[in-house]
């Protein structure tokens, strides 16, 4: 079959397309974005009429994917790890309803927080939902798992979670394709109550899920993704999950691995294989990217001392694994800080180069105006959100005091105002506003909270690379519809020449005892060559 050079994220997309997917549903989020983008730009996906437009947030994506599964077709839902927090209600309950058409939820974790606010481990969510999890160790496995995941979901009658990490999502390697599978025909669930989670029906469904669990374990026991390799030296056994397997093998590229090895790519854990490893080895080293989830189980409440990993300091408690960390855990390499830090001269020369807002970015002009308008007040009253504008936390702006989760700017500003911190300011982007800001705005409007909200509108989801914004051309209407007084919805173009006018408008609204929405509006400079977007902006008369 054809060989392609693909990122891990793209391999998932290709596997899903070839596996008979009818729709992908997602909200952009590093490192998951490229899955959906691949489908959007793939000719075959267009020909096959595969849905691939962005959803407003991860919850709507999850629910829409579940709806497609209800109708008998195969759907994939994609998000970054924190997106699963947003989608959690739908996700957990989709395990109870179960699936009709195959449903895969692909979640990309970000250990070491390359582009995220935490490094939560989505395998814990999979365990919480009590569904099978697939964790690829290579781009080829990522393809294979997405390809066969739909059939697995239909066989087990539950959604399947595919967990990847940044490193795999954004690493490229050759992938071999499998034959293209036809999409499912539309067909409704045979049990009309399957998706009706009234307590009466939900209890039955939940018992069904619990009864399925032994089948899931059996599936893991038989799975080719879980491989036991015998070894003659039983002083140590190694359990390696997902990508950790590669870091292990990197350390044995020039020598033979004589320890028994259990490679894990499918959960729940294959019980018999794990028991064998534990029984025949003096010590067991657990290698897993993310939380010490498996290690904790093997260690048990009493803390068996022969289980090694993140909990006993053999491996650092946080951060992404790499070949050197595994070498140190195996005793192949001394545990030491980077050598660079010993060279005082180098330390002096190499300066941090953090990400920054682009030269010419509209957010910069908005922050300059906001900072000046706020100079009349004491500091510490600006609540921000997730997006490029979060970089306003860094010098020279030092403009914001919070960044927690999608939409938290408006609601935290309201809470602070409720406490007497008046005026309180929220700074949120257009796409984040329609993702999770609108509901908070209703709370603020219903209590006429004295907050000033800057919706910095650049017509795109910028930080993830310029994807569609669900808010395009709708922000004033949404705010008015929610009940913001039109007299306190102000729009301006954030540019240097408008600075004084912007400062004046912000000052006025800060003094207003109620909800104000200020919309600094200018196209993201990274998208100026996006013809389709430019046409939409002209059509909607937004400049």
């Amino acid at each position: 079959m054809q060989k392609l050079l693909l990122l891990g994220a793209e391999a998932i997309a290709q596997g899903a397309i070839d596996g008979g997917m009818s729709g992908v549903y997602a909200y952009p989020g590093t490192p998951s974005t490229e899955i959906t983008e691949y489908v959007q730009h793939y000719e075959l996906a267009k020909e096959r009429n595969i849905h691939s437009k962005w959803s407003a947030n991860e919850k709507t994506a999850m629910e829409t994917g579940l709806g497609m599964s209800y109708a008998g077709k195969r759907a994939m839902v994609c998000m970054k790890h924190v997106g699963l927090n947003v989608a959690a209600d739908a996700f957990i309950n989709s395990a109870i309803t179960g699936t009709n058409g195959g449903l895969i939820v692909t979640v990309a974790d970000d250990p070491s927080m390359h582009s995220s606010q935490n490094e939560q481990d989505s395998r814990v969510y999979g365990k919480f939902a009590q569904i099978p999890i697939l964790e690829p160790s290579s781009q080829q496995e990522a393809y294979d798992m997405a390809y066969m995941g739909f059939e697995m979901s239909e066989r087990f009658k539950v959604p399947i979670l595919i967990r990847i990490t940044t490193r795999l999502a954004h690493s490229r390697a050759a992938v071999e394709r499998k034959p293209l599978i036809d999409q499912n025909e539309i067909s409704l669930p045979s049990n009309p109550h399957q998706f009706v989670l009234l307590p009466n029906f939900a209890r039955i469904q939940y018992k069904g899920l619990l009864n399925s669990f032994s089948g899931f374990i059996e599936g893991s026991e038989q799975s080719s993704f879980n491989e036991y390799r015998e070894g003659s030296d039983k002083t140590l056994g190694i359990l390696a999950c997902g990508l950790a397997y590669n870091y292990l093998m990197e350390n044995f590229h020039d020598k033979t691995l004589n320890y028994p090895l259990l490679k894990i790519g499918q959960y729940p854990m294959p019980r018999a294989k794990v028991e064998k490893l534990m029984a025949e080895c003096d010590e067991v080293l657990v290698l897993e990217d993310g939380y010490p989830m498996i290690e904790e189980v093997l260690k048990g409440y009493t803390g068996k001392e022969n289980v090694k990993g993140r909990l006993d300091g053999t491996i650092p408690r946080d951060g992404e694994l790499n070949p050197n960390i595994v070498a140190q855990a195996l005793g192949f390499e001394e545990k030491k800080k980077e050598k660079l830090l010993d060279d005082a001269e180098l330390k002096e020369i190499i300066k941090a180069r953090p990400p920054a807002m682009c030269t010419g970015c509209g957010h910069i002009d908005a922050y300059n105006a906001l900072n000046e308008a706020l100079s009349d007040y004491s500091v510490g009253r600006v609540f921000s959100d997730i997006g490029c504008y979060t970089l306003g936390a860094l010098p020279p702006f030092n403009a914001i005091n919070s960044c927690v989760d999608m939409g938290a700017s408006i609601t935290m500003a309201k809470g602070a105002a409720d406490s007497g911190l008046i005026p309180a300011v929220a700074v949120i982007g257009d796409s984040t506003f329609t993702h999770s800001g609108m509901t908070g705005l209703i709370d603020a409007v219903n209590e006429n909270s004295p907050i000033t909200i800057l919706i910095s509108d650049n017509f795109t989801t910028g930080m993830t690379g310029g994807q569609d914004s669900a808010a395009l051309g709708k922000i004033e209407d949404i705010c008015e519809g929610i009940g913001v007084d039109p007299a306190h919805i102000k729009v301006f173009v954030p540019m240097k020449k408008n600075h004084d006018e912007m400062v004046r408008i912000i000052r006025e609204e800060l003094e207003f005892d109620g909800v104000s929405v200020i919309i600094p509006r200018r196209q993201c400079i990274q998208t100026t060559r996006n013809i389709e977007l430019n046409n939409r902006i002209t059509e909607l008369n937004l400049r």
């Binding site: 490229r172 790499n322 990400p355 930080m463």
Partner: protein, 192 residues
């Protein structure tokens, strides 16, 4: 055969184009590759790196172990130093001399270059000026690839072919400019 390369630079300087070109050349020569790159937040004018591994045998890790890289190919001099820990003691640094200054505390460029020059197996060239003199300032990254090409275990022609492929849709002019840039970098490295 195996070459492990750290590609370094600042977001937007074109290290992913370098990676794509090497990748294309490697695949055409039936080599295996793994290439880990940086997306998302780190793109916004921040330091970016890519681990590029090519080999005639299967490659295990997507990341190059510290102390094992054969080459650091950097399009910015300070960024070349940032990943020194990854380089083998006898490994090569091939770096652009032209600094990209988007931070207020950028070090004295002389101290950066002196530090680089103090190390053997280091090639420093002003790729920005070379590209400008060729009339295609945007090909500075390909000049750098040309300068690193003697240390990558692939025939020179493989890089030219890859450039033709990668820039196919941009037309003959762009292809020709980049092939010239590649050659200029190669000549600089050969003359050292």
């Amino acid at each position: 055969m195996k070459t492990d390369i750290i590609l370094a630079g600042v977001g937007g300087q074109g290290i992913l184009s370098i990676a794509a070109t090497i990748g294309m050349a490697a695949i055409a020569n039936n080599l295996q590759i793994k290439q880990a790159e940086v997306h998302g937040m780190s793109q916004r004018g921040g330091a970016v790196q890519s681990h590029f591994r090519l080999s005639s045998n299967p490659i295990a890790s997507d990341l190059i172990p510290r102390g094992k890289a054969d080459i650091i190919l950097s399009v910015e001099p300070m960024e070349a130093l940032r990943y020194l820990d990854f380089l083998k003691p006898e490994g090569w640094i091939v770096t652009n001399a032209a600094p990209f200054i988007n931070i207020s505390n950028y070090p004295e460029i002389e101290s950066v270059l002196n530090k680089l020059k103090s190390r053997k197996n280091t090639i420093i060239l002003d790729a920005d000026t070379i590209a400008k003199d060729l009339g295609s300032a945007r090909s500075s990254n390909i000049v750098m690839l040309g300068a690193a090409s003697p240390f990558i275990d692939l025939p020179y022609k493989a890089f030219e072919d890859a450039i033709k492929e990668i820039f196919l849709r941009k037309g003959d002019k762009v292809i020709e400019a980049n092939i010239k840039a590649l050659r200029a970098g190669r000549e600089f490295a050969d003359k050292r």
